[in-house]
């Protein structure tokens, strides 16, 4: 189990480097990161489900200026990492119960990750101040690349916290009540739609929303 935890933490921390430290290709977005990590551990379809369900929850959380948004990327990685570890370690494995724990840990990770990012950016002030003492080109460049290491450590710590927490609560997972998968995923999806609505209604696009809803109903009729 320790090997799985180490692998999940390292792979997750590398994927999360995409959030700010390298490139910003958006592979750390839940809809990409969850199936990607899932694929590595043989859980692609659960990763896809988790990523799709979590993706819209923080769609309105934007990294504008110095404002630190909720860590939606960290949430996705922690959710799938929780599922993968739980599947390997929980006795009497139940898909819905473990998904519940994954979602719950994921949303907690969005808060912990936000605090972690604030601490990281405060720590990085030191890298910025170092240029006052030594403004050689080498120092400036090295300081910038050192930020990748600080980001990696922060990501690693956030994922590790939830992996350790899972190991601690794993025996209690079987005590959760039974429920349908559809019931569970509706909650984050509904909150995701509310997040989208915040963007749309602010921009007064009700008409387009209504046309979309009518198209959805039409699809319903076709599918029936």
């Amino acid at each position: 189990m320790i090997g799985t935890i180490v692998l999940l933490c390292v792979i997750g921390a590398i994927v999360l480097l995409d959030k700010l430290a390298i490139g910003e290709f958006s592979i750390s977005q839940p809809i990409i990161a969850c199936p990607l990590i899932g694929l590595i551990f043989g859980e692609f379809h659960i990763g896809l489900l988790l990523g799709g369900v979590l993706q819209l929850v923080w769609v309105g959380a934007l990294p504008l200026g110095a404002k630190e948004p909720m860590d939606s990327q960290g949430a996705g990685v922690v959710a799938i990492a929780t599922f993968i570890l739980a599947k390997k370690s929980v006795i009497d494995f139940n898909l819905e119960k473990v998904l519940f724990v994954g979602l719950f840990f994921g949303v907690l990770a969005s808060i912990v990750g936000q605090v972690g990012a604030q601490m990281l950016k405060t720590y990085n002030n030191r890298l910025f101040k170092r240029i006052d003492k030594d403004s050689s080109i080498k120092r400036i460049v090295v300081n910038n690349y050192l930020g990748i290491i600080t980001s990696f450590i922060k990501n690693l710590v956030v994922i590790l916290i939830f992996q350790v927490l899972l190991v601690a609560v794993a025996p209690a997972i079987k005590l959760l009540p039974s429920f349908y998968l559809g019931e569970l995923i509706v909650i984050p999806l509904a909150i995701g739609v509310a997040s989208l609505a915040k963007i749309i209604i602010f921009k007064r696009r009700i008409l387009y929303m209504a046309i979309g809803a009518l198209t959805g109903v039409l699809l319903w009729v076709i599918l029936r």
Binding site: E24, F25, S26, N125, I148, Y180, S195, R205
Partner: protein, 251 residues
């Protein structure tokens, strides 16, 4: 500027926000990039500016054009132009990329995925819907990394005019993206209850129960909308939602 030089500049520019800090924001990154790309004999021009450096922060994908402009006239890199351009691209770049392009593409991916679950009704079924993440990843990166790499090329070639062109390019499609986003959201509102009703909750049989379930979910969306006073609320709402769900199930 040759292809090799553009690719080198592009790769180095990927590390713009590596050491993002509250004091300097992207300052370390932008100066590290420019110092690595500029001719060695011109580096003193940049280092002189470092003495009076301010916090630099803008949309990361739009910095390509600013790097290109700096390389266009290495003798006269002006701190004032950086200050002006970072504000312009911080505003319009964020509006185009963070507020419209990314949410729109993400929503389309999620919508297609949900429709996939409607059709397939088995989350383990291998299907074309498994490729939905790529519907976001590929177009998004073509758009945003394209802005970055084209910015470097045009900035180096035509200088400040490249920034004017980029602003015009970013400004035009914003309204269309908002319309598309609204349309997709409308569809998702209807699709979510359908996924719930048809894919997973086999225990719902009667029409009345289906309608009740539909309006319950719609009610959750509306209540969440009004409770969501800040973006932080999303996390707290989801925690509360999951706990209430658990409580109902226990009772």
């Amino acid at each position: 500027m040759g292809y090799f030089a553009i690719i080198k500049a592009f790769i180095i520019s990927l590390f713009l926000s590596s050491s993002w800090s509250y004091l300097g924001r992207q300052s370390n990154g932008i100066w590290a990039i420019i110092l690595q790309l500029i001719k060695p004999d011109k580096r003193d021009n940049v280092k002189a500016m470092l003495v009076e450096r301010n916090a630099f922060n803008t949309n990361p994908y739009c910095t390509g054009v600013m790097i290109g402009i700096a390389l266009n006239d290495e003798n006269q890199i002006k701190q004032e132009s950086f200050v002006t351009l970072q504000s312009i691209f911080g505003s319009i770049g964020d509006e185009y990329i963070w507020r419209t392009l990314r949410p729109t593409l993400l929503s389309i991916s999620v919508l297609v995925l949900l429709i996939g679950y409607l059709w397939i009704k088995n989350i383990y079924a291998v299907s074309a819907f498994s490729l939905t993440p790529l519907m976001f990843l590929i177009p998004y990166n073509i758009a945003v990394q394209g802005i970055r790499i084209k910015g470097i090329y045009q900035g180096k070639k035509i200088g400040v005019m490249a920034a004017v062109k980029l602003v015009e390019y970013l400004r035009r499609p914003i309204t269309k993206f908002y319309n598309l986003l609204a349309f997709v959201m409308g569809m998702i509102v209807v699709i979510i209850p359908l996924v719930y009703l048809s894919s997973f909750a086999e225990h719902i049989k009667s029409f009345t129960e289906s309608v009740a379930a539909f309006f319950t979910i719609l009610g959750v969306v509306i209540v969440s909308y009004f409770l969501m006073r800040s973006e932080r609320s999303s996390s707290y709402l989801l925690i509360a939602g999951l706990l209430i769900f658990l409580l109902i199930k226990v009772l």
